[in-house]
Amino acid sequence: MANNMFLLGIVFLPLVGAVLTVLLSPIVRNNDMTDLIVNPLQRWVAFAANLAAWACSMVVLRQALDSGTQVYAMGGWTPPFGIVLVADSLSALFGVMATTVTMLATLYMAQCWDKCVNYPAFVTLALTMSAGLFGSFYTGDIFSFFVFMELMVLSSVTLVAISDDRLGLEAAFKYLFISGTGTLLLLLGIAAIYATFGTLNLAHVAEQLQALEGERPLLARSAAVMLVSAFLLKSAVFPFHFWQPDFHTTAPTPIHAVLSSVVVKVGIYAIIRLMTLWFTEEAAIIGQLVMILGVIGIFFGSFSALRTNNGKRLLAYSTIGQIGFILVGIGWWGMHKNELALAAAIIYAFNHAFVKSALLMVMGLVSSRNSLKSAVLRPHDNPTVPPPIIGIGTEIPPIIGWLWLLGGMALAGVPPMNGFISKLGIVQSGAAVGDWLVVFLAVSSGVLSLSYVFRTWQSVFQQKREKDNAPEDGDKPKFYVKSFGDSTLAPTLLISICVVLGLYAQPLVEAATRTVTLLQDPNVYINAVKLFGG
């Protein structure tokens, strides 16, 4: 079998773009030309690189669904000796989700006027973040998974630290500590795997685990525990969720859109991979754990979103809840081996990415018209806090309000949006395994998400703006940061993807079902990589 060049392109093209943007920045410095030419050029290079990566990922998805697992061996070193990029249909589906959202977030970034986007390093870091993100979905080697993940984490930490929001520094600092702990766990798990099996190739380890037939060496189970906790930490699942709302809320909007919708899915993807490929015997225990954590997460996320006082924070909390739904699907698969449940989880993850990033961009459009780009929701008397965003929606093009409404319907699972399809899948699989209590809890929290989205819609897009909103000169603190010209193109495209996936869900459902059928048998993945080695 030949190397699949498209697979390399997905990871390589954003890195090429990153190098190009670095080279562009020293051409003109400390000059008006920087604002006029270099910064826009950098942003369009970023968009072009991510667009090319997106095209490659679509081709790879088509190939993976039609003709089976695609492999690229780095430097011509055949597996298990060299590092491989592998795209089976699970990787390809998650990869398409990641590239689509990142591409549209870069489009949003290209036309947004956040101050921090003008820093020379911003676009470069955004590109290295997307390279790390795509790489961690496609890699077939656990150690390079760690390297890609760290690339993503360090870039996103720096991006948040230079955010317009001055709280970004503290949030990024906090996240770097917590994520560093997660990285240590991940590295320990990898070392334990290497000590036991003497290899780091996913397929090669899986082959040896399978040959053991349920018997586990000393370190294998502890490796499983460490890896699962590291992935749960990276996905902000309930007991490890505390960093996520702070870190995501303070991020610049184009980065927040990627973080809250795709980056949290890396851990989800890794858990699915771990349960289906490596620890198939332990899938029931891991499944039970993630299902319980998922249910807690659904409730924690929804209630915290109800009581929070910040629009972006609301969406970050809602992500915790939505991740909970995905984990419940995965858990049902692990416990009952119900194919529908895992397919529903994959569909849920896929759909949620578009909804959440669209909603975040809309919230970013609204809040960048407020002073300090703050998204405070309710009126207050505190002079040190920026004014609320009540009524800003009535002064901007009405399409933004409709986008929020449609996205909110998708988030809550109202037909005809794609959120309905994903909630339907979860409920159906819950009915199939007979876990009615969890189904009831999940559906009732869907009602909660409907309430917080519509309440925000009413106050932001329906009420009149308070006139003393704008602080006067004098002793009041100055909040205004110049902000205008944000793009509505990217959220519009994302919402139209949501509508299309809601009305014409069949291709996605079929792809997810086929993916799960292939995932049931780890030999599909193992043989594809092994045959490539010859």
């Binding site: 720096t158 770097l176 500590f177 560093g180 240590l184």
Partner: protein, 114 residues
Amino acid sequence: MEDLAMAAAIGTLFGMGVFQMLRRDLVKAAMGFALLFNAVNLFILSTGAYRGASAPYTTNLADGKATSDPLVQALILTAIVVSFGSYALLLAMVNLVSRRFNRIDSDEVKELIN
């Protein structure tokens, strides 16, 4: 003997790292982070480097001598680069935090609470 010394070193570094990381002083906590990363790197080293006394040259392999595993050292090299990068970033951010808040006690760096 080598095994025991290695295990003791890893354990000591882990203990010191966890203790330092839980301190309220942000600089000491950052040092704990570095110590922990070194402990993990030593752990990776211990998984393969002492399988044999001789270096993994082809002649040694042909003679059937027990050689040490070269891959772990390549792995640590990457892990050191990553951990060094995060440590540098962490220290830079401690610097910024200390300038903004004029203190490095983690209990007093709490603007985020809302």
